[in-house]
């Protein structure tokens, strides 16, 4: 037993009463308050642009919101009314194409990095994904133009979707990898020890446990591509008509906003604001949907 009485050769220091401040206490308290205040201030500063953008977009765009905006086609200059219905649909189609290509690729690549890949190939892929994540999106647009648009001999929704997929893949890959790494390894061992093959363990245990987090990461990626303009300029181009053909040019909200906002016409500029508002709301709704879907998945039903 080591809990013998403590050696007490030196006399204990005189006790200070708790009511009396210790040396340096005042400075310590001041510092603590100062840094707390600084953190609060910075949090507010972060929120200010966010809210002011939202309020400004609502203020300028809300008046143009009408059913016609969602059902109508862009009108020629000078004619009243019209809408961006084709651009709303076009944006949704582009997001769908991008997700159809980007999500499986990104998630499977993430699984490879977290679960399978070891050594130099894996670190090379990780490095390339990080670099690709930092490439300006217009570069990706030019790349897809050279590779897809030139080969197909026309602008198309498919080319736009491919460009957006390339923009989202690095985010999806790295988020998937990071979140899979956060799943405790004892769950993977539990599954393997039950005689479950590795690939089923990766998909049904690891990926499923990480799913809510990956869902959030995917939503961030989708929100980002929903507003991307540059990669669409030379790929999906634009269209003034209803179109759901993936091998034809297609309208999209960001490109339509760009066209209208840079035009000299008051009507068009007003419509650009409404388009911006619709884009914000669209991203918000997609986020909400994904939240609902992943939170239900997380409860095991």
């Amino acid at each position: 037993m080591t809990t013998a009485t403590r050696p007490s050769s030196a006399p204990p220091p005189p006790h200070r009463t708790l009511l009396e401040p210790a040396p340096g206490e005042r400075l310590r308290r001041f510092r603590s308050r100062f840094f707390t205040a600084l953190c609060v201030l910075c949090a507010v500063v972060v929120l200010v642009p966010l809210f002011s953008i939202f309020l400004y977009v609502v203020a300028r765009g809300a008046s143009g919101l009408s059913l016609e905006f969602f059902t109508g086609l862009p009108q020629p200059v000078g004619e009243p009314g019209g809408g961006m219905g084709n651009a709303v649909v076009g944006t949704l189609i582009l997001i769908a194409i991008a997700c159809a290509i980007g999500l499986p690729t990104g998630i499977l690549a993430g699984i490879y990095l977290a679960e399978v890949g070891r050594g130099r190939l894996a670190s090379a892929i990780r490095f390339i994904a990080d670099v690709l994540g930092g490439v300006p999106s217009i570069t990706i647009g030019v790349f897809v133009y050279a590779l897809v648009v030139v080969a197909m001999k026309r602008f198309s929704a498919l080319a736009g979707g491919i460009a957006l997929a390339i923009v989202m893949i690095p985010t999806v890959t790295r988020t998937t990898e990071e979140l899979l790494r956060m799943v405790p390894s004892h769950l993977r061992e539990a599954s393997l020890a039950l005689g479950v093959p590795e690939w089923r363990t990766s998909l049904l245990v690891m990926l499923r446990t990480a799913a809510p987090g990956i869902g959030t990461g995917v939503m961030l990626a989708v929100a980002r591509i929903a507003g991307e303009t540059a990669p669409l300029l030379f790929t999906a181009f634009n269209s003034r008509y209803w179109s759901a053909d993936i091998d034809r040019p297609i309208a999209s909200l960001p490109v339509q906003i760009l066209t209208y906002a840079t035009s000299p016409y008051k009507d068009w500029q007003a419509q650009a604001w409404t388009g911006a508002l619709v884009l914000v709301l669209l991203v918000f709704c997609l986020n909400l949907l994904a939240r609902l879907a992943t939170s239900r998945g997380g409860k095991g039903r």
Partner: protein, 264 residues
């Protein structure tokens, strides 16, 4: 059953279920266990005891080839289960693990699954169709004496249970895939004495149908529940014998020192 089963010394040694011959395990260059040779008797509880870091868990994980899932880990030697070397290249470790189940130190129910799904996890994750899953859930949970405690909340998460209940759920999960051998890696080390006693009762009951190998750092537990005991020290198998002999009349002085608490 007496505390130490020296009351049946006349019993002929039961047929070996697993024969381990010159088993060596490594983590990269570190030689974790050296030339282990022993026969694990069928339908008995074999305890593996020894101080921390002596290789007892590594030994256990070699028996169902979970050892090789640690990066850099390798094993050499033979582990013969019912006449087949599990390290034969033709043996798929996945198939092996369906016959040799494992319970871990930390109870690890799948957090995304309900209690019911956790019991069926081995089947669900493998995509096997069950004729009567409800009956299997009830039978298995009754077997681990958890049914009465959870029958009204089978759809709740497995994580909502207490530590001891979670560990019994994990044992149920293993039993549901009907293994022949169950490896237990310090299954009670995170549990309180009452939960431990329940797991020990369960182990005693399970040995009628299964071969159990129990790694424990608790010598009293080894003495209470096991029929045979292997004492590991620094990666070597020092002694392997009937539990009664190990605890009352060991051949090696090192074993005696350990079981009498002189070190470890």
């Amino acid at each position: 059953m007496s505390l130490i089963d020296s009351d049946r010394p006349e019993e002929a040694p039961p047929a070996a279920k697993i024969v381990v011959t010159r088993l060596n395990a490594y983590f990269h260059k570190f030689h974790a266990i050296h030339d282990i040779t022993l026969s694990i008797p069928g339908a008995r509880v074999t305890a593996v005891i020894g101080p921390s870091g002596c290789g007892k868990s590594t030994f256990l994980r070699c028996l169902n080839r979970m050892h090789e899932h640690v990066p850099g880990a390798t094993a050499k030697g033979s582990v013969v289960l019912d006449g087949v070397d599990v390290y034969d290249p033709a043996v798929d470790p996945v198939r092996l693990r369906r016959r040799v189940g494992m319970v871990f130190q930390k109870a690890n129910p799948f957090p995304t699954m309900s209690i019911r799904e956790n019991v069926l996890a081995g089947h669900k994750l493998n995509g096997t169709r069950l004729k009567d899953p409800a009956a299997l859930v009830e039978k298995t949970l009754r077997h681990v004496a958890l049914w009465d405690e959870v029958k009204d909340k089978l759809d709740q998460s497995g994580m909502s249970l207490s530590g001891g209940q979670q560990q019994r759920l994990c044992i149920a999960r293993v039993l549901a895939v009907e293994p022949e051998v169950i490896l237990l890696d310090e299954p009670c080390s995170a549990l309180d004495p009452i939960a431990t006693a329940r797991i020990e009762e369960l182990i005693d009951e399970l040995k009628e149908r299964y071969t159990l190998v129990l790694v424990t750092h608790n010598m009293q537990q080894a003495a209470r529940v096991s029929d045979y005991t292997a004492f590991f020290y620094m990666g070597d198998l020092v002694e392997f014998d009937r539990t009664g002999t190990i605890f009352t009349n060991p051949k090696e002085s090192k074993t005696e020192d350990y079981v009498t608490g002189k070190f470890g």
